[in-house]
């Protein structure tokens, strides 16, 4: 079955949020059983649960708006990589614990600002999802920020790794704040917020944590993008091969 990309800006906006949450949640779930210590193993999988729960609420809403009979599972399991709208940042590999923390820190700080703005949406359902998510994001922000500081201002080894994680992923942070025509159309319908003005607040928050962590803020240079439009890094295909295997091999399988 073909999977057309929706032209409804409201649905694309919901999928951008949902795909970020699902793919990042899946990445974090890969840590299950591999965390550096038990408490952090549990913490990362807790984050994964929150993110996947958020994705479910958003997919369900997108499916209802679309009215084509697609449920949360369809969006997660039946689309190919070119129809995923997540930012490139969230599909990047876990790397070591420090790189996972860097990715989480960049995303959490963005998500906190974005979902906070989204609670003002005139669309009651989306505002409710945002308000619910924000309570959880506040916990995530604290977790990832504390770890950036602990690893950055830690041993030589942890500092080297934390700096490497920050440097490695910096080029993917610009896309979080880039806006296109679909975003602008979604803003008019109350389904997105203007992310560009949030970039300053994000920089301020990130700079403060990096400074406390005695880490060096990377130079702003070329930024990778394309995820929002379905142009992904090679990593997403491997994620989907794992995530979608069962539904691809046994379509409509249920428990």
């Amino acid at each position: 079955m073909a999977t057309p990309t929706s032209t409804d800006a409201r649905i694309v906006a919901l999928l951008r949020l949902a795909d970020d949450a699902l793919i990042l949640g899946h990445r974090l779930s890969e840590w299950c059983g591999h965390g550096p210590i038990l408490e952090q193993d549990i913490a990362l999988t807790n984050h994964a649960l929150d993110l996947i729960g958020r994705a479910r609420a958003l997919y369900t809403y997108a499916g209802e708006l679309e009215g084509a009979g697609h449920d949360e599972d369809w969006f997660a399991y039946r689309r190919d990589a070119i129809h995923f709208h997540n930012a490139l940042l969230v599909e990047q590999p876990n790397g070591d614990f420090a790189q996972t923390i860097a990715r989480q820190f960049f995303y959490d700080r963005y998500a906190q600002l974005y979902y906070h703005a989204l609670t003002e949406s005139p669309d009651e359902r989306l505002a409710a999802i945002a308000a619910k998510s924000l309570k959880e994001i506040d916990y995530h922000v604290r977790f990832s920020s504390e770890w950036v500081i602990r690893l950055g201002d830690g041993t030589d080894e942890s500092k080297t790794r934390m700096q490497r994680g920050i440097d490695e992923l910096w080029r993917y942070t610009g896309e979080l704040f880039a806006m296109d025509e679909l975003d602008r159309a979604a803003i008019e319908r109350g389904f997105a917020v203007d992310a560009a003005p949030l970039h300053d607040a994000w920089n301020t928050a990130v700079d403060a944590v990096l400074a406390e962590a005695t880490l060096t803020r990377p130079e702003d240079g070329w930024m990778a993008d394309g995820g929002r439009a379905g142009r992904h890094t090679e990593h997403l295909g491997f994620i989907l091969a794992d995530l979608q295997f069962l539904q691809r091999a046994y379509p409509d399988a249920t428990w």
Binding site: I42, A43, H47, L49, D50, L51, A57, K135, D138
Partner: protein, 163 residues
């Protein structure tokens, strides 16, 4: 409040334990947000504690089973996210039952946000009541709990965190 039909439904739901923390009921937890009759049709509205709580579906099924067992045939269980669930909705009875079970109930009100921004609350040990406790991890055995340790009696315990 005056409708005896609603009181009867509430009594049924108050017999439905939380699947993760069976000492408290779904009513104690504040998950049941509304009970109403549209004509003869019963509508129960529930809200999830955390968006990713794996127990949400189990709770919904348990409520259906309890209503069916109690003889209700024409009913619907709906889910709402708004207003978002808060630990402020935990009943006093629920808090006491958590403590007896060995889980420290949430301290203070979520509305103040003090639990979220560095100003960590003092969480008394549910065993010995000592206030000399340490947060081991804010992410515990379920999404709703943090992991603590009592520095006085050495007991590790769960803290039902403020949300």
């Amino acid at each position: 409040m005056g409708d005896p039909r609603i009181a009867a439904v509430r009594a049924v739901l108050d017999g439905v334990p939380d699947p993760e923390i069976p000492v408290v009921t779904v009513v104690d937890l504040g998950i049941v947000r509304d009970i109403r009759f549209d004509g003869d049709r019963l509508v129960v509205t529930i809200t999830p504690t955390y968006t990713g709580c794996p127990a949400t579906k189990v709770i919904e099924d348990a409520i259906r089973d309890a209503l069916t067992d109690a003889g209700y045939t024409d009913f619907a269980v709906e889910t709402t996210l708004s207003p978002p669930w808060t630990t402020d909705w935990l009943s006093e009875r629920g808090r006491e039952k958590l403590r007896e079970f060995g889980i420290a109930p949430p301290v203070g009100s979520a509305a103040t946000k003090r639990a979220l921004f560095g100003d960590a609350p003092t969480v008394p040990c549910p065993r010995c009541r000592s206030e000399q406790t340490t947060c081991v991890s804010e992410f515990g055995s379920t999404p709703c709990k943090a992991h603590y340790r009592c520095d006085a009696c050495g007991e590790p315990f769960d803290y039902f965190k403020c949300l």
